[in-house]
């Protein structure tokens, strides 16, 4: 195990900056997820840590050592690729033993360590198969087995689950979590799936356009998003984000709709200020169908016309236009709602978020 430190890390492709001077410290034994939309620089960052991509500026430190110019083999890392990258001409056993064979470890040690890894990942029956004879989930496990056999300082995962179907993905997610509990290690995990990041990571790094938008625990990034982008990216369904103007105690939306200005922001904004009003679907609901705790401190009610519903069994997502955009509300203990019907909605204003219209940074409560 080791810490990984990024200092003003830059990657340039010609004139294009793919990674723009990011700073990040990953602690010993920590599971950190880099998450963001495609092209945000998360994979490039991971590949620079791995040594597969040249570093244009700044430093990568593993432990206390600057590794900028070390080849991948000298960094004592393991990587699980999106494509698994299993060696097709070798059996599962040979795939897992490959790194030890290259390192010229004694035969009995190789056998023992491969057996350990295959026990942990339930690969014992598959050891003599070729990768082409395995299913997607099995290949994924072999790729992880190959990574843990090395006992590296740092594990790197590059979107390891995105080639699996939804059910298998959930299953493997649990398996990765269990693996991390069993094999304590520093993990850097790249994904574009915020659910994966939320469920797996100790801390989440949300990236956009080559820079870091926010670093925080899943709780922090969910409850106190630092920017409008983070607010929209984390959480499913996404937070309702509506452009608005602050007018004497009101949040005024387009088309004449308004909500009261949440008390906690009373002193943080001034009249006439342009903002973005954010509220999670969990905090808007047809009256009487919300969380029991909701609507305690400050709430508002509005009559909205339902446009679409998405029943999920235990809850129903209700889509209704308000303030010029389509809102999503989460209805617990759902009852059937036909489109077109007018429904009384409760807005839990204590849970609202405000973001600056310019730049999108969160406006702190004052």
């Amino acid at each position: 195990m080791a810490t990984v430190t990024l200092e003003k890390l830059v990657k340039r492709y010609g004139p294009v900056e793919a990674v723009r001077a990011i700073d990040l410290e990953i602690f010993d034994g920590e599971f950190v997820a880099l998450v963001g939309p495609s092209g945000c620089g998360k994979s490039t960052t991971l590949r620079m840590i791995a040594g597969l991509e040249e570093i244009s500026g700044g430093f990568v430190r593993i432990g206390d050592e600057v590794v900028n110019d070390l080849p991948p083999r000298a960094r004592n890392i393991s990587m699980v690729f999106q494509s698994y990258a299993l060696y097709p001409h070798m059996s599962v056993r040979e795939n897992m033993a490959f790194s030890l064979k290259i390192a010229k470890r004694p035969q009995e040690e190789i056998v023992r360590r491969v057996a350990e890894a295959s026990d942990i990942l339930h690969l014992n029956e598959l050891l003599d198969r070729r990768p082409s004879q395995l299913s997607g989930g099995q290949r994924q496990r072999v790729a992880m087995g190959r990574a843990i056999v090395r006992k590296p300082e740092v594990f790197l995962f590059d979107e390891p689950l995105s080639n699996l179907d939804a059910k298998l993905r959930t299953q493997m997610r649990t398996e990765i979590k269990r693996l991390h509990a069993r094999v304590p290690s520093t993990v850097i995990y790249v994904t574009h799936d915020q659910v994966e990041a939320m469920t797996l990571a100790d801390r989440i790094v949300i990236m956009r356009d080559g820079h870091i938008e926010q670093v925080g625990t899943p709780d922090e990034v969910f409850h106190t998003p630092a920017t409008r982008f983070v607010a929209g990216f984390i959480g499913s369904p996404a937070m309702n984000l509506v452009e608005a103007t602050v007018l004497d105690g009101k949040v005024q939306f387009a088309g004449g709709d308004f909500l009261p200005l949440p008390d906690k922001f009373k002193n943080a904004v001034s009249a006439g200020q342009r903002i973005v009003f954010g509220m999670r679907p969990d905090d808007v609901h047809p009256t009487g169908h919300g969380l029991p705790s909701a609507a305690g401190e400050q709430a508002a009610q509005r009559e909205l016309r339902v446009s679409v519903t998405e029943p999920l069994g235990n809850e129903t997502l209700v889509f209704a236009p308000f303030g010029g955009v389509e809102w999503i509300a989460r209805m617990l203990n759902p009852i059937p709602l036909e489109p077109g019907r007018a429904v009384r909605m409760t807005f839990d204003l204590a849970k609202a978020h405000l973001f600056a219209a310019e730049g999108g940074h969160a406006i702190a409560r004052a």
Binding site: L52, I77, Y87, H89, F98, P131
Partner: protein, 288 residues
Amino acid sequence: MTRNQSSRRLRFFGRIAHATGLFLVALVICLPGAWIILNSLRPTVEIMAKPAIWIPKSLTLDAYTAMFSSVGHGGVPVWDYFRNSLIISITSTAIAIAIGISGGFAFARYRFRGKSALFLGLMLTRTVPGIALSLPLFILFARLDIIDTHFALIVAYVALNVPFTIWLIDGFFRQVPKDLAEAAQIDGCTRWQAFWQVEFPLAGPGVASAAIFAFLTSWNEFALASQLTRSVNSKTLPVGLLDYTSEFTIDWRGMCALAVVMIAPALALTFIIQKRLVSGLTFGAVKG
């Protein structure tokens, strides 16, 4: 008759037509080879007979015994020719493959200025008919005083084969995902080890096919060899066939016998390499 029955009948006839078609095509392809083998075993009279005699009256190995007997008794220096052919073909193939692997890998993996122009240029060299090169090559080689040496033919054949081997091997390296070499490097390989341990074995079938092709080209080539060789020092088997033509006669039987001797090792080699080639073809490690 129900539609089901008629469709089954149709499929049955379709299958027969298919088999017949395949048989005819195979016949056309195999006939010349069979004809050569047949002719090497029977007298010229029968070979030249019109209408053709399909079923031979008697078969003898006279042509083969004559061929291996001493010069003057209808013999030709088969062993010399064989040795020359072997040395020239194997050496030129080995060199062409070595260059082909390096070049193919470079084209598949690296980006550099003028890459596509260079690649196109290599391909264009293949549009030049080999025979058009014979006079310039002859003059050049004569000046260099390397006519009638193994070296001359090896150089010529390497030049002839390299564009093709690069092109073919490039295609195979392209099919080996980059991730594999990267995974190998993370697993502790140097770039060089990653190449030999992972990328090369996976492109192996391509290298083998390129080798077969280069070998057969050199082994069978006649036009250039007939210009650049003079004596048993460097004459190859295809040029040796000409020994059976004299001023007034052509010994078709002897020529066919030598052709068989020429085909046999090439055929054997191709079979051996192809066997290995197919057994190594188990792709499918990446994605599903």
